[in-house]
């Protein structure tokens, strides 16, 4: 319990947004536009924009703005809108805790420790890269091993190069983009090494970031040893078998001073867990319903903190929904109806949302998203209400590198039986 003196320092806000990346900004814009005026955004960094600030390459915004923007340009559009709407943003402010009663503590240089009580909270903390510790990379612990995102920050925001001869482990888009970036800045990128038999990166990035610069891509390979005392001096790479175990005799050595790890992103959910929000082991994010509300009333989640997106356009779209839903929640608009569960079936991983309200009144179209568990060609996604197919989507290809999405129309939702709904892929 807080003393009366402390109690008087608690500020009430209708909607509190944590994080001012694209997700937090879109959520705040939507909440404001839906009529919430007592609105506050807290951001740890000195600037708004989140990860986009360091993604200086282009390819953002095709869906939302119908033009290709760079990361900073995409972010600036939202920053301008946030300013135009007069939304209060406290940058340099780290949220330290939240609880299920929506009591929030934060700290900044400017304001010191701050306490808030929120009518609704929107979680938009993004994700971070898997650090080296999360990987079983063997060898010495020398300098010169960075996550690709850290290297991206050095080169693009701070303007200095982490090394001259470089190997990249992981062929997701961030790794590929960094292969090109390092090359253009004068480094020699010797190889991009991928454990899986396919790259999870876009074809466009494989062509324009590796092939354009003759950087070899070793699929079904991994780094088995790291050499160097103070600074990295080389790495050993080997082919792996179908159980992802190194095959003796296939070792290759590279002399290099830098190893960049691009081995996946994990949603940053420490705060979410403090509020005892129910989590999904499949997405590493909160379990949400179609309004992006978590298992705790009045706490919403959107963007990469909910599930790792490939495209910022979809982050923004999802976050507009969360902002609007949070506004409706504090305005006392009740959603009446009964919930059904959406479950992963064959070939499907991490369906979001996991719960869907079949409303008593009129339904709206709901978009569901998931990651294919493997590569499926000429395949069909089926949405099954028990034994009955209620929707389907055919595509030439589904790959784990590209989030799949599918819309459930209002009449489909209204017609659901109330039992579990399963999403599955059939080839």
């Amino acid at each position: 319990m807080l003393s009366p003196e402390l109690r008087s320092q608690v500020k009430y806000v209708d909607v509190l947004v944590i994080g001012a990346g694209p997700a937090g900004m879109a959520a705040a814009i939507a909440a404001k536009e839906a009529g919430v005026h007592n609105l506050l955004v807290l951001e740890r960094e000195q600037n708004m924009g989140g990860i986009l600030r360091q993604c200086i390459h282009n390819g953002f915004g095709l869906h939302r703005f119908k033009e290709e923007l760079t990361g900073p340009e995409y972010a600036q559009r939202d920053i301008d809108k946030v300013k135009e709407l007069g939304i209060e943003v406290r940058t340099g402010t780290t949220v330290l805790s939240i609880d299920e009663d929506r009591f929030v503590t934060a700290i900044s240089r400017e304001y010191g420790v701050q306490m808030f009580e929120a009518g609704a909270i929107i979680l938009a903390m993004g994700c971070r890269e898997r650090p080296r510790g999360a990987l079983a990379t063997p060898g010495t612990r020398c300098a010169g091993v960075y996550s690709a995102g850290t290297a991206q920050k050095f080169v693009n925001l701070e303007g200095y190069m982490p090394g001259k001869r470089c190997v990249i482990l992981g062929s997701g888009d961030i790794g590929l983009i960094m292969a090109r970036r390092m090359t253009l800045q004068g480094a020699k990128v010797l190889a991009c090494v991928e454990l899986m038999p396919y790259s999870s990166g876009l074809n466009r990035n494989i062509v324009q970031c590796l092939q354009d610069y003759d950087i070899p891509l070793y699929l079904s390979h991994t780094v088995i040893d790291i050499q160097g005392k103070e600074r990295l001096s080389g790495v050993t790479v080997a082919e792996v078998d179908s159980n992802r175990q190194p095959i003796p005799g296939t070792e290759k050595h590279f002399d290099c001073d830098t190893l960049l790890l691009s081995v996946g992103l994990i949603p940053e959910n420490e705060l979410t867990e403090m509020a005892n929000v129910e989590m999904s082991t499949l997405t590493s994010g909160a379990i949400v319903d179609d309004s992006l509300q978590t298992s705790k009333e009045g706490i919403f989640a959107c963007g990469n903190v909910l599930h790792v997106h490939d495209l910022v356009d979809f982050v923004s779209a999802e976050s507009f929904k969360a902002g609007k839903a949070a506004a409706e929640y504090v305005q006392g608009k009740k959603r009446e109806g009964k919930y059904v569960n959406l479950k992963d079936g064959n070939g499907v991983r991490g369906v979001v949302p996991q719960k869907l309200l079949v409303p008593d009144g009129e339904a709206e179209t709901v978009q569901i998203m998931f990651r294919p568990a493997g590569v499926y060609k000429n395949a069909t996604v089926r949405v099954m209400d028990g034994e009955r197919e209620v929707a389907k989507l055919k595509k030439l290809i589904f790959t784990p590198g590209e989030m799949a999405e599918l819309n459930l129309k209002p009449e489909v939702i209204k017609g659901l039986s109330g039992g579990d709904v399963t999403i599955q892929i059939e080839q």
């Binding site: 200086i56 600036q76 303007g159 590198g401």
Partner: protein, 117 residues
């Protein structure tokens, strides 16, 4: 001449064989849809790329991000990077400001993609 290329327009990533004679594409095979042909015609005759980079801001610790306003010929990428490495601009910079006009004689300007106050 025959080129082996991968279409980048969708995740199918069709491997295409493209024949070019006298600077013109005479045959494309391996594509699944006609977008592959359009891509092959551009890519095998006059490949172009957007270039994004950072440029030093005089007296500042952190650089400003920039891009070519439109794609430039692929063969000019490294020359363009060289010119940008030698370029310095002074604050304030606004998104869209021309940082380097007509870079390497391509007729394309390099512009800032963020603001520096």
């Amino acid at each position: 001449m025959e080129h082996q290329i991968t279409c980048i327009n969708c995740p199918v990533g069709c491997r295409m064989t493209v024949t070019v004679e006298d600077g013109k594409v005479t045959s494309v095979t391996g594509n699944t849809c006609k977008r592959g042909v359009a891509y092959a015609e551009q890519e095998c005759v006059a490949p172009q790329r957007m270039v994004t980079a950072v440029v030093t801001v005089t007296g500042r610790k952190t650089p400003v991000s920039v891009k070519t306003r439109t794609p430039i010929p692929k063969v000019k990428i490294f020359e363009c990077m060289k010119q940008l490495a030698a370029t310095e601009i002074t604050a304030p910079v606004h998104m869209g400001d021309v940082v380097c006009a007509n870079v390497c004689g391509t007729g394309v300007d390099v512009i800032a993609t963020k603001n520096v106050d």
